[in-house]
């Protein structure tokens, strides 16, 4: 792991430790009250979920085009993070919705699209784990199809149902709410990057291990 990893990890952990204080000092949102503060973790989770999906898709395409295994490792790492951040989004969202909308789950465009994309991510991981040898290319194809599918999923679900707030509230946020949000976004992004690096390192070490086993076999 590179030298800067440990100090940056400490910074990230500290940012997370202080985030509740930063969030508590944000303005109280009058319509939804206390439960709106889930937003400060829900929104960055959702963004990291999308970032992970894009990283996975792009890395998969690069792997399919070039055959370079480094892209495959990045795709796998991003795929795992996609599932993790997706899980966070899909749990914090309903917890917020229970108070804000009165029900845990609503079949509207954004929630359903996220659920379907998350399931494609889970399918990706299942394929990589249980597909046996040679499943890297298959998984890359799946990731590519998943990425291409995003507009279709969104449009079809959108015309099927829509309740989620139509426009993005982020640009209109007052400063006292914007600050904690961006603080959390930075924390989450940092964490995402650190986890990605760590996970890619794991795959690299596994590849090294495999080649070491091979040279061990060759000697005997």
């Amino acid at each position: 792991m590179p030298k800067w990893f440990t100090p940056v990890a400490f910074i990230c952990a500290a940012m997370f430790a202080f985030s509740p204080l930063v969030i508590a000092n944000a303005d109280y949102e009058s319509t939804m009250g206390l439960v709106q503060k889930i937003f400060y973790y829900h929104m960055p989770s959702a963004w990291m979920f999308l970032v992970a999906a894009m990283v996975c898709g792009v890395a998969s395409i690069r792997y399919l085009v070039s055959g370079d295994l480094r892209h495959d490792r990045t795709a796998l790492a991003a795929g795992e993070l996609l599932v993790v951040f997706g899980l966070l989004t899909l749990v914090t969202g309903p917890l917020w919705a229970r108070k804000a909308w009165g029900t845990f789950w609503i079949w509207d465009a954004r929630t359903t699209s996220s659920l379907v994309s998350w399931m494609i991510g889970c399918a990706y991981l299942i394929l990589r784990r249980y597909g046996g040898p040679g499943s890297e290319k298959l998984a890359a194809a799946l990731a590519l199809f998943g990425m291409a599918n995003v507009p279709f999923i969104y449009i079809s679900v959108n015309y099927w149902r829509t309740i989620h707030p139509a426009t993005s509230v982020v640009p209109k946020l007052p400063f006292t709410m914007g600050l904690p949000l961006w603080y959390c976004v930075i924390s989450f992004s940092l964490l995402f990057y650190l986890l990605l690096k760590m996970r890619v390192r794991l795959e690299e070490q596994r590849a090294t291990l495999d080649s070491l086993y091979l040279s061990l076999d060759e000697q005997h």
């Binding site: 439960v35 889930i38 917890l95 804000a100 009165g102 139509a166």
Partner: protein, 100 residues
């Protein structure tokens, strides 16, 4: 070693995180019915017994996030150190017996 130290440090800090929200959320939970805005679906005509205190939901959400992060980091660290051990072990076995 740095990895283990990092994991321990993150664990301690995350445990601190789990206790801080309880202090920060000292404000009373919002008990009144939410006013309707045209941005959100109104929960109009909610009977009083349906108005939930928000604090448990908030704490559940934050705790869930932190616990998931913690579990993932621990799982990653364990996998990484186990593979690292195997790599080191194999590297040591191969070095003395390696042929040119």
């Amino acid at each position: 070693m740095a990895l283990v130290k990092r994991t321990v440090a993150m664990t301690l800090l995350l445990l601190a995180c789990l206790t801080v929200p309880r202090a920060a959320v000292a404000q009373p939970a919002q008990g009144g019915s939410p006013k309707q805005t045209n941005e959100y679906v109104p929960i109009s005509q909610l009977p009083p017994q349906d108005q939930l205190p928000a604090a448990p939901l908030l704490i559940a959400a934050y705790s869930f996030v932190l616990i998931v992060f913690f579990l993932y980091v621990v799982s990653l660290a364990r996998r990484l150190s186990s593979v690292q051990r195997d790599v080191d072990r194999l590297g040591a076995t191969l070095k003395p017996g390696s042929k040119p």
